[in-house]
Structure formats: structure tokens, C-alpha cells
Amino acid sequence: MRPDGRGYRYRRYPCQVVDKRLLIVTGKGGVGKSAVTAALALRAAFDGKRVLAMAMTDDTGLAMHLGIEHLRYRPSHIKSGLDAMVIERPEALNEYLRVQLGVPRIAQLGPLARAFDALASTAPGIREVITIGKVLYETKKGTWDLVVADGPPTGQIGSHLRAPTTVARLVGAGRVLDQTGWMIRLLRDRSTTGLTVVTTAEELPVTETIESLAAIDEENLIGVENVIVNRTLDPLDGDVDGLSDGPAKQAALLHNALFDEQERWIARLPDGPRVPYFFGLHTPPEVAARMADLWGMP
């Protein structure tokens, strides 16, 4: 424990998910966003909640950390209390057309869906509205105590969170417009919905985190639940200079240099949970399980 009491903050449960129904997780590529999503979902399931883990853009990371090959659009059972799915475009589009726009099933086959998909790729926000709309729809419908979404990376999170507003402005009329109001309300409802930003204590991820936090705050897109710092090192006590040359000294020097560098970047972030660097862990499911265990500690 460090004198300023900042050490071991990661032992704290990172998200007060007890009172949230939806957590969207974002972060720069490579920081461990999917690992944190999987761990949050596992933790909540261990705590007795009915949880849905959703991959919003690409299922590779989430599937890997849940220890399965691929996710499907239909939720598949992972373990007691936990289901997982990926938002795939054709299926999500069909469901959007049917459930939210009231298009009859017959018209969803073939041409219309393809045409709509082409339009969705052209007009800004429509594709994102279908994705974020599915996440919000799963939250609204009440099957799950908690939905944890492995969101797009920090670079694209804004366009997703903003999508219902973008579309509302763009589409002057029509049923798509009618569906944006409840989405915006649910996203902004801080008692229900929160954003978790994952970062490592390095320059680019921290810079991106700070930039997206500022944009989200300015536009009031969503309540930020927390910023989780992944792969943090704890300080090493003792006099490194007194060591004789050799691997122990080299390892201590690298450790201290990395630690100092991390502290520089952590100092710029809002206070929040830290996840330690897991030395020597081999597989993604091991990493997610270890994180979930850690957060369960009193």
C-alpha cells in the first residue's frame, strides 16, 4: 500500500452495477476493452444477476475472453446467469425493421433489407442507430438484470452515442424518426445507463480517453460510470542502485521505469479502479476470470 492510499484501488468493485441496467464499455484498441467487458459480465453473473454480454461491432475479443469460438445474434448460454451475443448487421437490421419500424416480415426478405442496408451505409448515423438501438432494446425489454456491451473503440463511440440525435436531425419524417426519442432518453438516464472507459496508462490511450470524456460531457451523451486503468504496476520498494548487475537489477529498472511512466499518465485521469498487470497469464479466459475474481474481493 502506498502512503497516499492509492495502491490496491483495483480491489474495489469497479462498477456499482447493482443499480445499473446497461453498461457500455469503450477504449482504444489493444487496451483490454473486451477483457473488461467479459469480466464485468462474469462478475455480475457470479453475484446472481441475469446478464447479457453483447459485442457491438466485432465479436472476436469478447468471444475469446468468454472462452468460446464465435458469438451469434441469438443469445447463447455461457454459464449460469450469463448469455452472450453479437450484433450482426443483417439480423439486427431485420429486427429493427420488424420491431421498431413495424415492417411486415415478408417485406424484410431480400431487396428491401438490402436497399435499406445500402441507405444505412450512406446516410450518417443510421447504421449506428441500428446497433445502439439493439443494445437499448435489450435493456428496455426487461429480460436481463444487466446488459454489458463491448462497444466500439473510443474513436467511434461518439458517433454511436450521438446516432439517435444525428438521425433525428437528418430524417425529417418517417418511422425512423419516431424511434429516436426513447433511445436518447434511455442513453442519458444516469440511473439506468453508464459508460465504462478502459485505458492503459500510456500516452495514446490516455489522450484518447481524455478527449472522448470531454466530448461526451459537452454533448451530454451518456453518464460516465468510471474509467478503468488496465495493466497497472505497483511500486517496487528498495534500493535498486545497490543491486549487483544482473537480471534482477535489469528487471527492477524496467519495472520502475514503467511504473513512473504509468503514474505520469494516471495522474491525468479521473480517479477510478485499476486492474493490475497479470504476469505470465496465457489465455484470454484466464485474464477475464482473474479480473472478475479480483473485483469480487471484499
Binding site: M64, V103, L119, T122, G174, V240, P247, A248, A251, F279
Partner: protein, 335 residues
């Protein structure tokens, strides 16, 4: 002339390595251009890249840099390769920017186009391209084909009609029965604007398709460097490059490598530093196992770069980083 593509998953150090390699090439007296995407501030200021535009700017002796500006690239692509009357209308369309950003592999295609322009200029001995982070850079190689199938695809033909009629087609467009529903969903004003855009885009197909084949040719003759760390996600991204049709990458670089000599299954004497060595040694061992598995699976001899505690903050540190690399054949890379 050597074109070098630096690819790999997110957060593995592609941009830093691109900069280091560019500096090494320039140091050999080769006229070098590095095209980068989104460098860290510290790296950018190390290279003098702050406020760099998309045109090559001198950075050091023999070294020029350019930043990729995908929006500008797409404007240029539309202007150059679409018919003269269509290009300006395309770029002026309110959907143009959003749509080109949404195209699959859009940023990659823009980067590949920039690379091709610089190759064709004949000005450079070495061109290094730092690839966009999406999909680990793999879509860089598939982007020309994907662009052709998007713009020339059956869907767009179906939407805009078999031949390319005049702009009156917009009205036929909304008259199609299936689209009446889309009309109810989106409103006819939006639908017509989108239809306008798609018709113009299709008119640009021939020019863009022809260009994409030239880009493909240059991509296939470029040197491919795959950067990875020993972590599972970047490793699985790196493996994808070996399944590409246009041949496996010639260079694999493992970044953030710890010395294997640190690994000892048991601690000599229990002390904070001894314990610290054990855990870093365990990590070094995990890395070495992952590296050996990768090299056996794909029959490659990877180069390694030792773990740097921070992003190099000046040119000297960038040079030191490249000097510390083991097994990186720069002579082969730059010819």
C-alpha cells in the same frame, strides 16, 4: 524503390516502428517518405510531425513525412477518377463524407491510394506506410477488391437500374414497391438525396475500379512487415496476414520483448527484487513460448525489439530502438 507496409493489431507500436525504420532508411542516404496515420504527441514532436499536413514535409536529412487525411484523399479520388461532371457533384453531396467514411475498408483504401501516388511520383527510394488500425490492417490488402464490389455490386445496380439513366431515375427509385417502405421509414426527402448520391457513385465505378487494380499491383509488390506483441489478440491479428492470397509477410517483428534469460522457475533468495524478477521472468517465458509457437506455425524467423519503458521522445532514442532490434534485416527491407 522500396515500399514498406507496416501492419498489425492495435497498440503494438506500428507508428513508432514506422518512424524508427524511416529514420534508419534516411540514415543510409535513401530519400525516404513516411506516411503515418495518428502518431502519439510525443512521437509526433520527436519527428517534427506536429501540425503536419497530407503533403510530404521535410523532417530531417533525407526524411519526409506526411499524415493520412482520409477525407481529403476521398475528395481527390472522386475528383480524379469519376467522370468530370460527376466528381464535383459527388464531393459536394452532403452524404459524401459520411458515406466514404462508412465504406468498408475506406481508410485503408485511402492510405493505399496515397501510397500509390507516392510510388508513381518516382521521387522516393523508400516509402513507409503506417496502416490504419481498423481490422489490424488486414483490410489494407483487400480494400481495392472490396471497393470494386461495393461500387459495382449487384445491390447498387439493382437500386439504380441496369443502365445509367438520367437523374429522373430518382423518381423511379422511390416508385419501386419495396422502397416505398423505406420511404415510410426514412422520409422521401432523405431517400431522394441518398439516391442521387448512389447514382453518381455508380457513375464513378469504372474510374475507381481501374485505379483499384493499379493499387492492388503496388500492394502485392510492397514489403510487408507485421508487428505484434506476444499477447493473444495481436497474435491472432498477425496470423491473419499469413492467410492472405498475395503471399505471406516477409517480416515479422515482435515488439515489447523481455529477455529470455530472466526466466528461472524458482527464486534464488526471497527478496522484493528476487520476487520481482520471478514475475517478470514468468512473463518473459510466456512471451518466448508464444513467439516460438508463432514462428513454428508460420515458418518465420521473427525479429525482436526489447521492451522500451516509454515511446521514444527524440530522434536519438528512435535510432537506439532500431539498433536494439535483433534479426531485422534492414538491407533486404530497403531494397
Amino acid at each position: 524503390m522500396s515500399a514498406v507496409l507496416i501492419t498489425g493489431g492495435g497498440g503494438v507500436g506500428k507508428t513508432t516502428l514506422s518512424a524508427g525504420l524511416a529514420l534508419a532508411a534516411a540514415g543510409r542516404g535513401l530519400t525516404t517518405l513516411v506516411v503515418t496515420i495518428d502518431p502519439a504527441k510525443r512521437l509526433a514532436s520527436a519527428l517534427g510531425l506536429d501540425g503536419l499536413g497530407s503533403d510530404p514535409t521535410p523532417l530531417a536529412d533525407n526524411l519526409w513525412g506526411a499524415m493520412l487525411d482520409a477525407t481529403r484523399s476521398w475528395n481527390d479520388i472522386a475528383t480524379r477518377y469519376a467522370p468530370p461532371d460527376v466528381g464535383p457533384r459527388l464531393t459536394a453531396n452532403p452524404f459524401f463524407e459520411a458515406a466514404t467514411q462508412h465504406f468498408p475498408a475506406s481508410q485503408s483504401f485511402a492510405a493505399a491510394e496515397e501510397m500509390t501516388i507516392h510510388i508513381e511520383s518516382g521521387q522516393w527510394d523508400v516509402i513507409l506506410v503506417d496502416t490504419p488500425p481498423s481490422a489490424g490492417g488486414i483490410e489494407f490488402f483487400t480494400s481495392p477488391a472490396r471497393m470494386r464490389s461495393l461500387i459495382g455490386g449487384r445491390l447498387l445496380k439493382w437500386l439504380t437500374g441496369g443502365s445509367l439513366p438520367g437523374r429522373r431515375l430518382v423518381y423511379r427509385f422511390t416508385a419501386r414497391p419495396a422502397l416505398r417502405i423505406a420511404d415510410a421509414a426514412l422520409g422521401s426527402e432523405l431517400l431522394e438525396a441518398v439516391a442521387d448520391f448512389l447514382i453518381d457513385l455508380r457513375a464513378a465505378y469504372d474510374g475507381i475500379a481501374e485505379r483499384s487494380r493499379e493499387i492492388e499491383r503496388h500492394l502485392s509488390t510492397a514489403h510487408k512487415v507485421v508487428v505484434t506483441t506476444a499477447d493473444p489478440a495481436p497474435l491472432s491479428e498477425a496470423a491473419k496476414f499469413f492467410e492472405l492470397e498475395n503471399g505471406p509477410p516477409e517480416f515479422v517483428v515482435f515488439n515489447r520483448v523481455l529477455p529470455e534469460s530472466w526466466y528461472h522457475p524458482t527464486s534464488a533468495a526471497p527478496s522484493p527484487f528476487g520476487d520481482n524478477l520471478v514475475r517478470w521472468g514468468t512473463e518473459a517465458h510466456r512471451q518466448a513460448e508464444a513467439r516460438h509457437r508463432f514462428s513454428a506455425r508460420w515458418h518465420v524467423e521473427p525479429a525482436t525489439i526489447p521492451w522500451q519503458p516509454q515511446t521514444p521522445s527524440d530522434l536519438e532514442k528512435l535510432e537506439l530502438m532500431i539498433d536494439s532490434a535483433v534479426g531485422l534485416d534492414l538491407d533486404r527491407l530497403f531494397t
